[in-house]
Structures are given as structure tokens and as C-alpha cells.
């Protein structure tokens, strides 16, 4: 009897310590053994992450996940997308339900330092804007004194809104919803005068309204919203994998390597391209992947510019200009450290 009890105690203790150790083990090994990447995505935002009628996810954030899957498995389809609301996303990543969170998440100091998370880069430079009905005759955020404003809870948007209206001494009424869909629906039904979120999101959501032409996006951008993929704190190798996946896509664009010409580029004498595509050096092995990791990414997903234009740029309905998201060589902010 006593022996059984003691055995149960030991078993309980070991199971506890095992689960404690697992939380710190390499995410990459886990993803490889599972054979599929678990990616936390949004609940549906055109251009960033939206499933189509067949259930295929597309978007610039989705391509981030597909690129990581391509680098690991040489197959961009080996991703399971798990839709997360703004308020649930961090808990889901912390608890290990997803390996990577890629859903228009703003990099802030408190999220980076106190949530046990690490941001792996910035795949979209955004800022917060406002959308109103044309018939209101409002042309500036500063004229929104006394307005009702719909927003999504658990976002930096909610905080920036409070900051901006406080700083400009404007009164307003906030109506916060848990899901993006509910927020847009409430705005459309007339519950609010204005809807606020990241400017890219405003353009995307405007397309979903019944009469997009009746709504305008106000010119002010009231905040910095650097959006990027997020991983758990404490797994540096996995952080490197995600970070360099993004950098590889940027370097590919800078070097002119595209989805179409990547096979030709394998024969390129340019040492930078050779290092990128793995024909020289062992850069992939250093992050636990094969040396042709970047080749796989470009072959399956394309470079950063291609992903941008396809999802949010001229090749999409959103038609957002590159702006701040152009490469540094073209006056934008997108800049990747060299592969060497």
C-alpha cells in the first residue's frame, strides 16, 4: 500500500518536472517531429490573413508562416493556421498552442519584456488611423470631439486612442468589442461615428462594408505600429529561424532574386547570392536547417516584395503603396542585415 502511494508520488513529481522541461525544449525540434507548423493567425483580415472559400489562407502574415514552413519542410503547405482574437493571442503563444504568432501584432516594449515573448522582426510598418462616414463632413481626427469610436479590445489601438484624445483634450466615447467582426458590424450599423485600427486594416475592412465609397480614411496617423512575427522567450534558435526567414526574403528582394528566377540565380557568380541560396557556406545549418533554406523560401513563397505586392500591394484589392515598407535602397524602412 505504502509502496503504491510512494510510486504515485514519484510518478506525479516526474510528470510535473517533465512538463516543466518540455516548455524550454527547442521549438524547432518539436515542429520537425510534429511535421507541421502551428501558426497563430488573425480571425480574418484581407491582405494579412484570410481564408478563401476553399479554406486556403492568404496574406502577408500568412506568407511569413508559409516561408518558415518552406524553410523547415520544403513545403509551404505544412502549416496549420489557428485563428486567434486580439485578446487571446499572447496566452495562446505563451502556453505553446502555437509555435509562431503572425497576425498584425504591434511590437511594444511591455509585450517584448513582460509577456515572455520575443519579436522576430517587422514585416509591416503601420500606423493607427480612423475611418468615418463621408456624410459626417469630418476631415480630421481633431474634429472628432464628442464622437463615439468603435475599436477592438486588447490592442495597442485601444491605448493609442485614449492617449491621443487625452493629449488633444478631446472628449469621446469608446465602444470596445472582443472581435474584429463585431467591431466593424457595430460601426456599420451606426453605433459609432468612427472606427479605428491600423491604417492597413482600415483599407482592408472598408472593402468588406456594403458601400465602401461612403467611408473615408482620415489623413492622420496617430501612432507607430511596427507589426511582426512573435515567438516565445527563451528559445533563441527558434527566434533565429523566424528572424532570418524574414531577412532572407528581404535580402532576396534586394539582390533581385525572385520566385521566377531563383533556379537561374543558383548559378549566379555573385557571392552574396551564393551565400543566400546556400551554394556557398553553411549558414542554414547554423540555425538547425538545411543550407538551401533560403532557396526553399524564395522558390515557394517568393521574396518580400513579391509577397507584399501579391497580398496588399498592386496585385491585390487593397492597392497599398510600398511607402515605409519599401526597401532601404528605395527610401523605405525595410532593411535586413547581410548573410555572411
Amino acid at each position: 500500500m505504502k509502496k503504491i502511494f510512494a510510486a504515485a508520488l514519484v510518478a506525479a513529481a516526474t510528470s510535473m518536472s517533465v512538463s516543466g522541461a518540455l516548455a524550454q525544449s527547442a521549438t524547432l525540434a518539436q515542429v520537425k517531429s510534429r511535421g507541421i507548423l502551428h501558426c497563430g493567425s488573425g480571425t480574418g483580415l484581407a491582405g494579412f490573413g484570410l481564408p478563401d472559400a476553399q479554406g486556403n489562407w492568404t496574406g502577408i502574415d500568412v506568407d511569413m508562416c508559409r516561408a518558415v514552413a518552406a524553410a523547415i519542410f520544403n513545403d509551404p503547405a505544412k502549416v496549420k493556421f489557428i485563428p486567434l482574437s486580439a485578446k487571446d493571442r499572447f496566452t495562446s503563444l505563451q502556453s505553446g498552442e502555437v509555435d509562431l504568432l503572425s497576425r498584425t501584432t504591434t511590437w511594444t516594449m511591455s509585450r517584448d519584456t513582460s509577456l515572455g515573448l520575443n519579436f522576430a522582426g517587422i514585416n509591416y510598418y503601420d500606423g493607427q488611423g480612423f475611418m468615418v462616414r463621408k456624410k459626417l463632413g469630418v476631415d480630421s481626427v481633431l474634429k472628432l470631439a464628442g464622437a463615439s469610436i468603435c475599436t477592438q479590445q486588447g490592442t495597442t489601438t485601444e491605448l493609442n486612442l485614449a492617449d491621443y484624445f487625452r493629449a488633444n483634450n478631446l472628449k469621446y466615447e469608446v465602444v470596445a468589442f472582443a472581435s474584429n467582426t463585431e467591431t466593424v458590424k457595430a460601426y456599420e450599423s451606426g453605433r459609432c461615428d468612427a472606427f479605428t485600427t491600423d491604417a492597413s486594416g482600415l483599407y482592408a475592412e472598408r472593402l468588406t462594408l456594403s458601400a465602401p465609397a461612403d467611408h473615408i480614411v482620415l489623413p492622420e496617423i496617430i501612432s507607430k505600429e511596427p507589426l511582426g512575427p512573435v515567438v516565445r522567450h527563451g528559445d533563441d534558435v527558434w527566434l533565429d529561424v523566424v528572424k532570418w526567414t524574414h531577412f532572407a526574403m528581404l535580402n532576396a528582394e534586394e539582390l533581385g532574386v525572385t520566385k521566377a528566377n531563383v533556379d537561374e540565380m543558383m548559378k549566379s557568380p555573385n557571392p552574396e547570392i551564393k551565400r543566400l541560396l546556400g551554394t556557398e557556406g553553411k549558414y542554414g545549418e547554423a540555425i538547425g536547417l538545411t543550407n538551401d533554406w533560403a532557396y526553399r523560401i524564395i522558390k515557394h513563397v517568393g521574396n518580400y516584395g513579391e509577397a507584399f505586392e501579391r497580398n496588399v500591394g498592386q496585385g491585390s484589392l487593397l492597392k497599398i503603396a510600398r511607402g515605409q515598407n519599401a526597401l532601404w535602397t528605395k527610401g523605405g524602412l525595410q532593411y535586413a542585415p547581410p548573410i555572411r
Binding site: 499572447f90 515572455g116 474634429k143
Partner: protein, 425 residues
């Protein structure tokens, strides 16, 4: 005198019997230890009493160990992942706004702790009003369902069947869109008499501003309530003694309405109103009742009333038919029969399930999150959790709060139940 002597005799007989059995008891008690001590030397393990204690202690130790290891494991992992823990966030600046707040709250000066109270009060507000309204509606529907009026009873039946068999979340969405959609926008508000406006931002009405002398009116009101109760008790006693009936209703009404009103005019009308004004977007000033609150209140009230109606019907049917027949035979009409004979007896059956319905209503109010009403779950487990990232602490606090609210509700209902229960002698 006769009675007392026989009684005394009986007690002495009983006493002597008790004494003899006591002696026997002493004997047996004294013999047991001498018998058990000898084999007891062999092993304590075979003593059923001690073995029982050992098992219970072991169970307690296992449960304690599981809780302790789960907690320490969580703390360890949080620390390893560099996730902040502890309750230090309580005093950090919140930085977000809430529209409906019963206490002052602003993004600039308020803390997460204050956000918690804003959410808690909003939950309590909707739950308490919902409980009162659903009780009235539930009783009405429940009684209607038993009515001899065919149309009324069928309507009540349809209400109960429809409401009880649809998910509450769906009903909330229905009410939210049904409340919002047909109302005009803020610039074309429906103006009701008394400077009250109705639009898709809610119901905006004059906000009463109480002057310092208004306290006298409040005191007068409570005084009137006390007086009315005192008069009621006195008149009941008087009625029992002399049979004279007093016009209780009108005297109570006159006291409670008249005394504060009189004080109000003597104090120089210390009440003014902040009237809503048409602003650029919306009416400004005034007291605003938000559509989210209205939708949630209607949803919770109608839903819970459906269940309460069934509880009430069951309670009334549990009262034997003979009671009604007896009341009829005494010449009581249908109204007094229900009020004086059936309902008091039915209450005993109704109260326990009624308590669970009150608890359900309170817990269901957390569905507010779906329609943007800033209740505890929306503000605290939603925004605060997300901003601080401290899921364990925030969820634990929220669970403790709901547990407390539910236990307090149960406590009061149990006290009430004890008062209503059949006193058996």
C-alpha cells in the same frame, strides 16, 4: 396538579432506567480497552480508526501536494519564460477608457485595480436589475401559463418554449441588433417628452444634479419607510385584536411619496437637471443608457424569466388541488386564493431552483463580452489581461469574484428559504 405529579413520577422512572443503563455502559467501556490493548500491541495498522485517519491524511497530503506542485510549477515556468507574475500590476496605470462607468475612471489617472472595480460594478448592476426584472416577468409568465384564459396560457407556453430552447448568446446578438438597427442615428434622435432622446447611441435623459440639501429628502424617504413599516405592524396587530381593517396601501403610499416631497419643497427644491444638448455627433450631457446595457439586460431578463416561469409553474402545481378547492369553498376569489393560499405554499418549492436561476443569470452576464458591454470579464479578463499578460492572476481573481457573488446570493436565498420553509413541530 394531577399532570405534574404523573409527569414527575414518569421522569423518576426514566431517570432510574437511565442510571442503570449508564452503569452497564461504564462496565462495557471499562472492559473494551483491556480487550483491545493486548492485540493493539501487535500493530496499529489494523486499528480501523487509526487506519481511517491515515487514509484521510494521505488523501489530504496528495491533494495538497498536487495543488502545491501545480502552483510551484506554474511559478517556475512563468519565471523561466520571463513572464511577469504577482499582483504588482494592480497599481499600474490602465491607459484605456471604458464608456459605461459607475465610478470615475479615465485613461490618464486610473489603475488596473480601478478598471477591475468599474467592470465589477457593471456586472453587479446588470445582474441585480436583471434578477429583479426576471423574477417579475418569470412569475407573470409562470402564472399565466396556468391561467384558464386559453390565449394567455398558450402565449406563455410559446414564450417559454422559444426562449428556453435558443442559445443565450444568439439571443443577445438578436437583441443587440434588434435594439440598434431600428433606431435612428444620433442626428435624427426620437425626442420623447421631458427632454428624453432615443437613438442608436442609447437612451439619453436629463441627468439629475443633487444639491447638498438633497440629503434631507433622502433622510425623509427612509424615515417614511420606517414609519410605513411601523404602521403596517401596528395595523396588523390592531386587526388581529379588533378586526378593524386600515387602508394600509394608501397610507404607505402617502407616507413614502408625501414626506420626501414635502421635505423637497421645504428644502427649497435642491435638485436640478443637466439637459442633453445636440452636439456635433451626438447629444452631449445628460444621462446616457447605453444600447449594450439595454440589449444585455433584455437578453438576460427574458432568458432567465423563461426558466423562472417553469419553476413557478412547478411550484404552483406542487400545491395540492385540494387547497384551491378549500379556498374556493371558503368563498375566496381567484386572486386572493392565488395570493393567500397557493403562492405562500408554492414558494417553498420555488425558492431553491429560483436561487440557481439567479446564479445562472449572474454568471451568464459574462456573455456581455460578445456585445461590447464593459462587464468584469470584458474589462478585466479582456483588456487588463491582454495588456498585462498575467493570465493566471487575472483569471484567478475573476473566478474568485464570481464565486463570491454566487455564494453571497446563495446565502441570502438560503436565509429567505429558511424563513419560508414549513415549520415542523
Amino acid at each position: 396538579m394531577d399532570h405534574s405529579t404523573t409527569g414527575g413520577g414518569a421522569s423518576t422512572v426514566a431517570g432510574s432506567r437511565a442510571a442503570t443503563s449508564d452503569e452497564e455502559g461504564v462496565k462495557t467501556v471499562s472492559t473494551i480497552p483491556t480487550e483491545t490493548v493486548q492485540p493493539g500491541k501487535a500493530s496499529l495498522f489494523y486499528d480501523p480508526k487509526i487506519r481511517g485517519y491515515v487514509y484521510q491524511f494521505a488523501l489530504l497530503a496528495v491533494v495538497g501536494f498536487l495543488i502545491w506542485s501545480a502552483a510551484s510549477n506554474a511559478i517556475e515556468n512563468l519565471r523561466a519564460q520571463k513572464i511577469a507574475s504577482g499582483f504588482g500590476f494592480w497599481h499600474n496605470a490602465a491607459g484605456f477608457d471604458v464608456n459605461q462607468k459607475l465610478i470615475p475612471f479615465s485613461a490618464s489617472g486610473s489603475t488596473y485595480g480601478q478598471a477591475f472595480y468599474v467592470g465589477l460594478l457593471n456586472t453587479l448592476l446588470v445582474a441585480s436589475i436583471g434578477i429583479v426584472l426576471s423574477t417579475f416577468l418569470g412569475f407573470f409568465v409562470g402564472v399565466s401559463r396556468l391561467s384558464s384564459n386559453w390565449v394567455l396560457s398558450k402565449l406563455a407556453m410559446i414564450y417559454v418554449e422559444v426562449i428556453r430552447n435558443l442559445p443565450l448568446l444568439l439571443q443577445l446578438f438578436f437583441w443587440y441588433n434588434a435594439v440598434l438597427k431600428p433606431l435612428p442615428d444620433a442626428r435624427n434622435s426620437i425626442a420623447l417628452p421631458g427632454s428624453i432622446y432615443l437613438n442608436n447611441r442609447g437612451l439619453i435623459m436629463p441627468n439629475p444634479q443633487f444639491g447638498p440639501a438633497f440629503q434631507a429628502v433622502v433622510i425623509a424617504f427612509f424615515l417614511a419607510v420606517v414609519l410605513a413599516i411601523a404602521f403596517y405592524i401596528w395595523s396588523k396587530k390592531q386587526q388581529e385584536r379588533t378586526g378593524t381593517q386600515y387602508p394600509n396601501g394608501s397610507i404607505t403610499f402617502g407616507l413614502i411619496l408625501g414626506l420626501p416631497l414635502l421635505t423637497y419643497f421645504i428644502a427649497g427644491q435642491p435638485l436640478s437637471f443637466d439637459l442633453p444638448q445636440q452636439g456635433r455627433f451626438n447629444l452631449t450631457g445628460g444621462l446616457q443608457i447605453y444600447p449594450e446595457f439595454v440589449a444585455l439586460l433584455i437578453g438576460l431578463t427574458t432568458y432567465t424569466a423563461g426558466f423562472i416561469a417553469e419553476v413557478v409553474r412547478a411550484g404552483i402545481l406542487a400545491v395540492s388541488r385540494g387547497q384551491t378547492e378549500a379556498a374556493n369553498a371558503l368563498g375566496l376569489r381567484a386572486g386572493p386564493t392565488l395570493k393567500l393560499v397557493v403562492i405562500p405554499q408554492a414558494m417553498r418549492v420555488i425558492i431553491p431552483p429560483l436561487t440557481s436561476n439567479y446564479l445562472n443569470l449572474t454568471k451568464n452576464s459574462s456573455l456581455a463580452v460578445a456585445i461590447g458591454y464593459p462587464d468584469l470579464v470584458q474589462v478585466f479578463t479582456g483588456t487588463v489581461l491582454n495588456q498585462t499578460g498575467q493570465a493566471v492572476e487575472v483569471v484567478a481573481i475573476t473566478m474568485a469574484v464570481y464565486l463570491t457573488i454566487s455564494l453571497v446570493t446563495s446565502l441570502f436565498m438560503n436565509i429567505y428559504n429558511k424563513r419560508m420553509a414549513l415549520v415542523e413541530r
